[in-house]
Structures are given as structure tokens and as C-alpha cells.
């Protein structure tokens, strides 16, 4: 019995330690804030001068804002895969990383909604969507499902946090009064009663089931922004599953990177261990294989037939203007990494970090390759316009606004991981208890 109390004390000490604003975290937040302000200056320019500050034109009218939006939605699906699908299937190893996955999911999903606004020609008319919304437009479906997903993801993060928040409210000293007060409110009068635990588990299970169709819907609807058009290259019935399977690759890579950083900077080496990196590496191999399968279908089937409008687009992708990026992304960003991950040594923390970073970078450019090149090959020739309309190159302003979305993601993820314990304390305690008994 004494043994268990000692263990609980260590767990609490280790996991509550990062929940404070140290010097390092203040500098990090300051850096993020300054970068955000600099990037927002470019957004101000875009508001003032119009979308003309971007490299977009009448032919490539969706550029890196939209591909970045797709990337953010994709990466946000991981919360559903890890906490919900694997959790419901009874995988025990996900427990210490489930909150990391949920925080990454919530942060990506929140920023995704803002990216869409940055792509609007008239953000001042955002309310028109609610005043004059038409149900047959996939954009309306997307807005509805993004809002739902953010709400359910926040709940999925919050419900299992309640016992930990109560603990923070009771035990954590040296925090600003407002933060203490916030914990008190958010803990909802938690009293460590067994019935309360029962309720929490029940609600979590309910949310975990609920989020599966919502997460599938959010990325399927995002894929429909393209698949519902008549454009050669987008007009594909497998876009939904193609996007969803790609989303898990990006999300697993993001979680692995997150695990590495939290483990090192929050001193959690004895909680997030080689074992967890090994498991994540294996999961990454599985989802990458599924994605490779969808890529084969999406590319080889039309490339075999070289039908009318699709031929030009595919030729430029496979050996033309976009070929270099295409092969780098497919081979360097997907095939090679998953082959490397087949080796046990490559699933150690540091190699995992490097491989996941390459995968995540590849995943971002993959979205670019899905969105942009198709528009450079419309059915009718591009004529009587300036040469700059022939190809699309993002401008500094556009890149800065895209960087802002990543900075905002990091700000949200940092704040969440600084005010809440990144590993579920009460679940860990339960596990320890079970092991001893």
C-alpha cells in the first residue's frame, strides 16, 4: 500500500511539474507571438489590397491556402484514430499519448476554420454564409462539420481531463489566480467519487463513438470540395477514402513529432518510452501502406486510360512540370519512410522524429499536388492573359499567412499543454493500481 502511494506521488510530481509558466516556455510563447504579429501584418495587407497580394489568378484560383486547409483538416483526424478507434479496440499502449493526439487534433481543427477565412475574397461577408447559406453547397457542409468536429473534439479532450483539473486545482501552487479560478470552474465540483469515474468513462465512450463518423465526414466533405466538380483530376469517386487514408499518415507523423518534443522538453522520458515510439512506428507503417494502396488506384487507373482532360494533367505530374515535386513526395515522403520504419532501429525516438518530419513535410506538399496542378490544366486553353497566369507561384504574403496558421497551431498546442498535464494522471494511476493488484 505504501508502495502505491509512493508511486502515485512520483507520478503527480513528474506530470504536474510542466504545468507552470517557466522561463523557457515564456520565451517560446514570446517568439511565437512576435512571429504571429509579423505574419498578421501580411494578412492586413491582404485585407486592404485584396487577394491580389497572393500569386493566385483566374486559373489557379485555389492555392496554398486551400491545400494548407486540407493539410490541417487531415492532421486533425488523428485524435479520432488514436483515442477513439484504438481506444475502443482496447489498445492499452495509447493511454500516455492519447492526450497528445487529442491536443494536436483540437489545435489543427481550430486553425483549419480560420484558414478558410483567410482564403475568402470578402471575409467581411462571412455572415452571408449563415444568412443566405444554401444546403446544396459542399462549403456549407464543410463549415457545419468543421464546427461540429471542433466542438466534439474539445469535449473528447475535456471529459477525461476533469479529474486531472480537479487535482491541479487542489495541488498545484504558484499559478496565477485566474488560472486557479479557471481550474475550479472547469473541474465541475469533482469529488473523486467512484460514480463520477463511472460517468466519465461512460461519456468518454459515447464521445469516442460519436467522433468516428464526424471525423470521417469532415475529411470526406473536404475531399468533396474537389470531387464534386467536373474538373479532370478532381472528378474522382475515391477522393473521400483517399483523403481519409492520407490524413492518418499525416496525423501519425504529427503525433510522433509531438511525442518527441513533449518527452524531451517536459522530462517525460520514463512515461513516453521507446515502446511507444515503436508502436507508433508500426501504426505509421500500417496507415502508410493503406495510403500507398489508394495512391496506386488514384494514379494508375487514369494513367492507364489517359482519358481526354486527365491525360495532360497526369503527364505533367508524372514527367512534366510537377514531376520533381511529385516523385519527391511519393517516394521520399511516403514509400521510403515507411520502408525504413519496417526496421526496429528506425522506430527508436530520434530516427522516428526525423522520419516523421519528412513524412509530414511530404504530406503538406502532397496536398499542394492535389489542389494546384489540376487547375493549371483546364479543358480550354489559357490564352489572352499575362504569362504569370500560366503557372502559380505563391508570394511572400501568401507564405507568411500560411506560416501564421502553423504558428497559431503551435500557440494553441503550447497553451493547452502548459495548463493541463500532457499525460492523463488518473488513468496512469489506475493502470499502476491494476498492475500491482
Amino acid at each position: 500500500m505504501e508502495n502505491i502511494n509512493e508511486k502515485f506521488a512520483t507520478i503527480e510530481k513528474d506530470l504536474l511539474a510542466p504545468v507552470k509558466w517557466g522561463k523557457k516556455s515564456i520565451i517560446w510563447m514570446g517568439f511565437l507571438m512576435v512571429t504571429l504579429v509579423v505574419c498578421m501584418f501580411f494578412y492586413y495587407q491582404q485585407i486592404r489590397n485584396g487577394l491580389g497580394v497572393t500569386g493566385l489568378n483566374d486559373f489557379v484560383s485555389w492555392g496554398i491556402y486551400i491545400s494548407n486547409f486540407v493539410f490541417f483538416v487531415a492532421a486533425s483526424l488523428i485524435g479520432m484514430l488514436i483515442s477513439s478507434v484504438l481506444g475502443l479496440a482496447g489498445s492499452k499502449w495509447i493511454m500516455p499519448i492519447s492526450r497528445i493526439a487529442e491536443i494536436i487534433a483540437v489545435s489543427f481543427a481550430m486553425v483549419a476554420g480560420l484558414i478558410i477565412i483567410s482564403d475568402m475574397g470578402r471575409p467581411d461577408r462571412l455572415h452571408h454564409v449563415f444568412l443566405h447559406g444554401r444546403i446544396q453547397s459542399p462549403i456549407i457542409w464543410d463549415i457545419a462539420i468543421v464546427l461540429t468536429y471542433v466542438a466534439v473534439s474539445v469535449l473528447l479532450l475535456y471529459v477525461p481531463l476533469i479529474p486531472d483539473i480537479a487535482l491541479l486545482s487542489k495541488k498545484q501552487n504558484g499559478l496565477p489566480r485566474i488560472q486557479k479560478w479557471m481550474y475550479k470552474i472547469l473541474s465541475l465540483g469533482w469529488a473523486n467519487h467512484p460514480n463520477q469515474y463511472k460517468l466519465i468513462k461512460k461519456y468518454f465512450k459515447l464521445l469516442a463513438v460519436l467522433i468516428i463518423p464526424i471525423a470521417l465526414a469532415i475529411h470526406t466533405v473536404t475531399s468533396w470540395l474537389f470531387a464534386m466538380t467536373l474538373r479532370a483530376g478532381w472528378d474522382s469517386p475515391i477522393f473521400g477514402p483517399y483523403f481519409v487514408s492520407g490524413a492518418f499518415v499525416a496525423g501519425c507523423a504529427a503525433v510522433t513529432i509531438g511525442m518527441y518534443f513533449f518527452r524531451t522538453s517536459y522530462n517525460l522520458k520514463s512515461y513516453i518510452t521507446d515502446y511507444h515510439f515503436d508502436k507508433m512506428g508500426k501504426l505509421l507503417v500500417l496507415v502508410a501502406l493503406v495510403y500507398v494502396y489508394f495512391n496506386i488506384n488514384e494514379i494508375i487507373v487514369p494513367a492507364y486510360k489517359l482519358k481526354g482532360g486527365e491525360a495532360e494533367h497526369l503527364k505533367s505530374m508524372l514527367f512534366g512540370h510537377d514531376a520533381l515535386m511529385f516523385w519527391l513526395v511519393q517516394i521520399g515522403g511516403l514509400v521510403l519512410p515507411f520502408i525504413l520504419l519496417l526496421f526496429k532501429k528506425m522506430r527508436k525516438p530520434l530516427p522516428s522524429l526525423i522520419i516523421s518530419s519528412v513524412i509530414l513535410l511530404g504530406a503538406w506538399f502532397k496536398r499542394y499536388l492535389i489542389v494546384v496542378p489540376v487547375q493549371q490544366h483546364p479543358y480550354y486553353p489559357i490564352q489572352n492573359v499575362p504569362d504569370s497566369f500560366m503557372h502559380y507561384t505563391p508570394t511572400i504574403a501568401e507564405i507568411a499567412i500560411t506560416v501564421a496558421s502553423f504558428v497559431l497551431f503551435l500557440i494553441i498546442a503550447t497553451v493547452l499543454s502548459k495548463i493541463f498535464p500532457i499525460i492523463p494522471i488518473w488513468e496512469l494511476k489506475e493502470e499502476v493500481k491494476e498492475q500491482i493488484q
Binding site: D58, S61, M120
Partner: protein, 294 residues
Amino acid sequence: MGNKEKGKQSRRKFLQNIGVAGVGAISAPAILFTACSSSSDKKTKVLTPDNKLIEIDSENGLAIDTTDKSYLNKIGREGIPGKKFVMVIDLGKCRNERKCMKACQSEHQLKPEQHHLNVLEMENPSSGQTYFMPKLCQHCDNPPCVTVCPVDATFKRQDGIVLVDNERCIGCRFCIAACPYSARTFNWTEPRDSEEYKDITYNMELNVPQKKGTVTKCAFSADRIREGKLPYCNSACPNGVYYFGDANEDLVTNGTTKETVRLSKLLKQNSAYTLMPELGTQPSVYYLPARENS
């Protein structure tokens, strides 16, 4: 049998003509406010939309302000009842003089790179011969741009015209992505001569003044049609390329020669086609193929 058929046909034709006249009378909205002259100074006879001739006070009855914004918005969205506008483009006659493009750009406040109407140089894949093809909004009967618009800023009117309300448009550009004909253009920056146009009341049918951050496209010159005139591009063409008219009347008028011909006959005799019919968009613009050595 032959006689019977003939009789039937001529009767149908007669009815059709009456119908045409009736539809024409109702639809010409000018009649709503341009009154038939009457002997009395104060009374005016006008035809109502349900085809009744009534007398009203000329002072009160003519009080519709045709430059009023809510009035312009209302008629812009409703369209002209009983009509189904179509255009026929005779590719054999196009000499790439681009008078149509110039007229269009100057009327619609467009910059040189913005095209409601774009004359493309195309190549016949079998003979290798090139020809010029004016490409504009096809005013599809199954318009992919209208289905995807999240805010009803682009819409299909009862007379077949697809318009954009640039005071509603949020600039998401989904319609640009959805249009297989690349018929739409965007105001990426402040529109041309925006200072000059800033006090003008917005006319949806002309889509002027243009607004930064919104989509614009060919309107079949809906403002001109309302006045009973042919579209700007049609009138500007020196080569007789364009025909415009009402499919319900089965008549189209050539913009250059002003000659009116039967639409069905013109289409049939010249093996007319529409652009990419396999997409199922059902365009309202017909093309007459360029004939070899013509």
C-alpha cells in the same frame, strides 16, 4: 392525311405566333411603365403582367424608379418571364477581330486580363487547321457553378441566364473551380476605374460597378436584353458571328446583319454542337462548326 397534317401544322404555327406575341407583350417589361398614349392628360393605359389593360393615373402609375437599388435587385434575380435566351456562334465567320471582347470589357468595367468573353485560338485535331472560338459563360441549364455556391450569389433565372450578385458573393471561388469552361473571372484587386464608378447604383444585370474580392462573368448582357436590344458583343461584331434570341420563340437575330432566322433550322442545317455535352451541363450557347476552306 397530308392535308390534315398541314392544317394541324399551320394551326400550331398560328397559335405559336399568337403565343409569341402574347409572351412578348407580357415579357417586355418596358410596357409596365411605358404607357400607351391616351387622349386624357392624366390617365394612362398600361398592360399588367396578367394581361389586363388598365387605366391608371399617369403621375402615380409611372412612379417606378428604374435606378432604385431594390428594384434593380428584384428584377435582376427574377429575370424576364416566358423567355429562354440562347446564343449561336458561327465559328466559320470569326476573323479574330476581337471587337466583341473590347465592347464587353468596356461595358463591364473589366481589366485587359479579365474576360467575360475570350476569343481562343483552337486547333482542329484531325485536320490541324486552326480556328477562332469566342468562349463565354455557357448559361448552362444544369449549371455546376450555381450548385456549389454557398450563399446564392450566383443563380439561374427563369429566362435561362446565370447571373452573379456581387453584393452577396463572399469570394470563395468555388464557382471558378466548378466551371469546366473557365468562364469566370475574379476581381483580385480594386476593379478598373473603381473611383469613377463608385457612386453608381449596382446593377446586377450589368454587374457594374465591379467589386474587389468578388467573382464576375458574362451576363448575356441581361441589361441590354431588358431594353429589347442584342448583347454588347453581338452588336459589336463586324463579321456576323453571333446570333441571339429566345428559344421559346425559336427565333434568333444576327448581331451584325440584324437578320432573324429560325433557331431550330439554323442549328439543324449547320450541325450545331455545344461545348463538352458529355459533362451534362446543357449549355445555352450553340456553336456552328468552322467549315474547311471557308
